[in-house]
């Protein structure tokens, strides 16, 4: 709910500065998440099981001999159930499910649902929304349409609903192209594509018979924009220059101050 999530968007690229020396190299994270119980760096004491957890409730055990305390708290050891019947839950590290995904190696490997022909239509539409110009390539050139496929194929209700909207929209677009120009959308000239897009580019202004097409266009435009502007080419296009490690934080440059009337 607070500030930072809004102030900056997530993300990052390898720092240009040297990593501070006590930081673990990325690769070592590979030891986590394979089900082994490991003591995290910096928190090691005698063994991993005890090495981690939060300040929750903390009875002070000075009255007890330590061995006693351990016997009381060593979990599975005394439980008696055969190991094979116990839930596979390590003391630490991500389990790789939706509530606790491996953040260092994210997965988006769910099966894609759109057909090649649907993808071709979306690529053509994506390039109508974000065409190449002298500053950056087109949306399809950086794979924005593949992001649409990732999105509508994802598990979850929202994606299932939008899959229908995208599929239906693609079919609608091709039917409309056939009716107006006797060809599929991908085969139209830019002028012909423009004629259709002009009719569906803004829901509040679209005619009744174009509303469904306009809602489809709106969804695709937002997905294409996310797909495009989160790539290097897109970030460069708008001039995003952050996410680099800096030794110190400087005040804004004179050029920015001048533009804002702040000098």
């Amino acid at each position: 709910m607070e500030e930072n999530s809004k102030l900056r968007q997530p993300g990052g690229r390898e720092p240009e500065l040297q990593q501070p020396s006590d930081r673990e190299p990325e690769g070592q994270g590979a030891a986590v998440g394979d089900g082994t119980v490991e003591a995290p760096v910096g928190l090691v004491r005698r063994d991993a099981l005890k090495a981690m957890a939060a300040v929750a409730s903390l009875p002070i055990l000075s009255g007890l001999p330590l061995a006693d305390a351990e016997a009381q708290t060593a979990p599975a050891a005394k439980a008696g159930a055969p190991a094979s019947l116990q839930p596979p839950r390590a003391a630490g590290g991500p389990r790789g499910d939706a509530w606790d995904p491996d953040l260092l190696r994210p997965k988006k490997d769910w099966p894609r649902k759109l057909t090649t022909s649907e993808m071709a239509t979306l690529a053509a539409l994506a390039d109508m929304i974000i065409p190449a110009d002298d500053k950056s390539p087109s949306a399809s050139a950086v794979g924005a349409h593949h992001y649409i496929n990732e999105y509508v194929s994802a598990p979850g209700d929202g994606s299932a609903r939008d899959l229908v909207r995208v599929r239906g929209g693609v079919s609608w677009l091709n039917l409309e192209s056939q009716q107006r120009f006797g060809k599929r959308f991908t085969q139209l000239t830019v002028a012909q594509k423009t004629a259709i897009c002009d009719d569906i580019c803004y829901v509040p202004k679209a005619k009744q018979e174009h509303k469904a097409g306009a809602r489809f266009f709106s969804l695709v435009r937002n997905l294409v924009a996310t797909g495009f502007y989160t790539t290097d080419a897109g970030m460069k296009d708008v001039g995003y220059v952050g996410n680099v490690a800096l030794p110190k934080w400087d005040p804004p440059s004179p050029a920015v101050l001048k533009a804002l009337g702040l000098e």
Binding site: E3, N4, S57, L58, Y202, V203, G242
Partner: protein, 573 residues
Amino acid sequence: MAAYQLAVAGLKVLVLEAGRSYDPVRETPMFKLPREAPLRGAGSREKPFGFYDATVDGGWEVPGEPYTNAPGTDFRWWRARMMGGRTNHWGRISLRMGEYDFKPKTRDGLGADWPLSYQDLAPYYDKTEMLIGVYGGDDDLENTPRSSPGVLQPPPAPRPVEMLVKKHATPLGIPVIPAHLAIMTQRQDANRLPRLLHPGNALAQRVLRQSMLQRQACFYATPCGWGCSIKANFQSTTVLLPPALATGNVDIVPNAMVREVTVGKDGLATGVNYIDKNTRQDRHVKARVVVLAASAAETARILLNSKSTQNPQGVSNSSGLVGKYLMDTVGAGLGGQIPLLENLPPYNNDGASGMHVYIPWWLYKEQIGGKLDFARGYHVEFGGGRGMPGNGSFNFLENQTEGAYGKAYKEAARRYYGSFVWFDGRGEMIPNEDSFCEIDPEVVDQWGIPVLRFHWKWSDHELKQAVHMQKTFAEIITAMGGKVNGTVQTDGSRAIARGGQIIHEVGTCRMGEDPRTSVLNPYCQSWDVKNLFVTDGAPFVSNADKNPTLSILALAWRTTDYILDQMQKREVG
């Protein structure tokens, strides 16, 4: 905090943690890109604040651990089931409560006073800030106390948007000053601070020095809410637990869901019962002293669930007040588009993740003079500018351009990117009889533990305050030459965030001078059970507009000093 303080004092401490263990050094996705994450890092039911957010097994829901709302209540409860709890991903805003905040009733007749004053807590604020590392300015405005000299780290320079807001808010009489965040802009003095914080305690000095040497200064990239593997900001898991464990006095058992506090015939706590989540077995640990810090509402839940013939209303509940006077922070927000910010030359807007400056409450005089129609103040968190493009970052363009596409869309993206600002008010809620949690008589969680049922009601003070917030934000946006997005609400119930939504819930076991009207004494010690203490937000008597965590930490330190003193005097333990 309590585990650390007790361990460095030489006591054996066992920490029971309901969630899994967690190591930010190895698990934080520093410098990962949205495009590497599913759906470009979008939030989801399982990860509401985005894929990379450092919340494990939590969020608005915890799988298998529901809570309920009484009819008419829509309270939202954010939990993180992981070592270090919500401190792994909190906003790190660390404002001190001021003099007025401890004595609100004396000042305006509403709510209740704390049994302590600002002066009682001030030394602990100083020590806590030095221990965890906080940047901030030394402005000394009304009820916005400064730290002692040398305590705070220098604040980072303001960002362009922050400077612009300052320029246009100042003539409206609204102050903009450096914020206080638990983020280090420089490395800690590992030689000086441990001696200062733990005089005469060689063990404490050794482990703290070692821990401070492990921490780097912020490098002004990567969002704090994902965690910080270089330990530049405050998380329990990077700042308090490593030195606590290094003492050799602390054992931590993860996946241990505490169910109840057990009490002996003499009325003293004997330990706790917990469910081992791995085996689903119920276990008991004995203890000389029990400290609860499971988060405010959860602590109330444990106490209320600790029922026996001896304590039919739960443990430490002779006053009947456990769960009562639940509070959150009042929240309302507004954004705007600012033409001055269009087409700027590229600049780095990242900084220390959270805000560099903020607006403290400034209308104390007007309020006490009866010129406002609500009691108690709010501060303003704000920002904007050129964030890293992520999921949905450019959705605004559709309306902004009334449907542009093609070259016009690309040009509009360049023009409007970074031209938006947002303001969020964070205000004081006055405790009331209608906001509380209790045990739901019918529902248990997957461990068989009865769950909490929430009741919630805002009073007119909070509703009017939320309207005032939006009006103020609209004024600032207009003064900046901008255009407000959306509607400025005049109906408080539309302006205000839902109960719990600001995630500052406190107050379920309030402290006081009188056992009949409070659950804990001024040292967060149970009136009923002498060897039972609470060190989370539950003891809060009121919830000032200042975000609670710094005060929770400072209070916890004070409480452990008292525990140690009482143990020495053989009063407890």
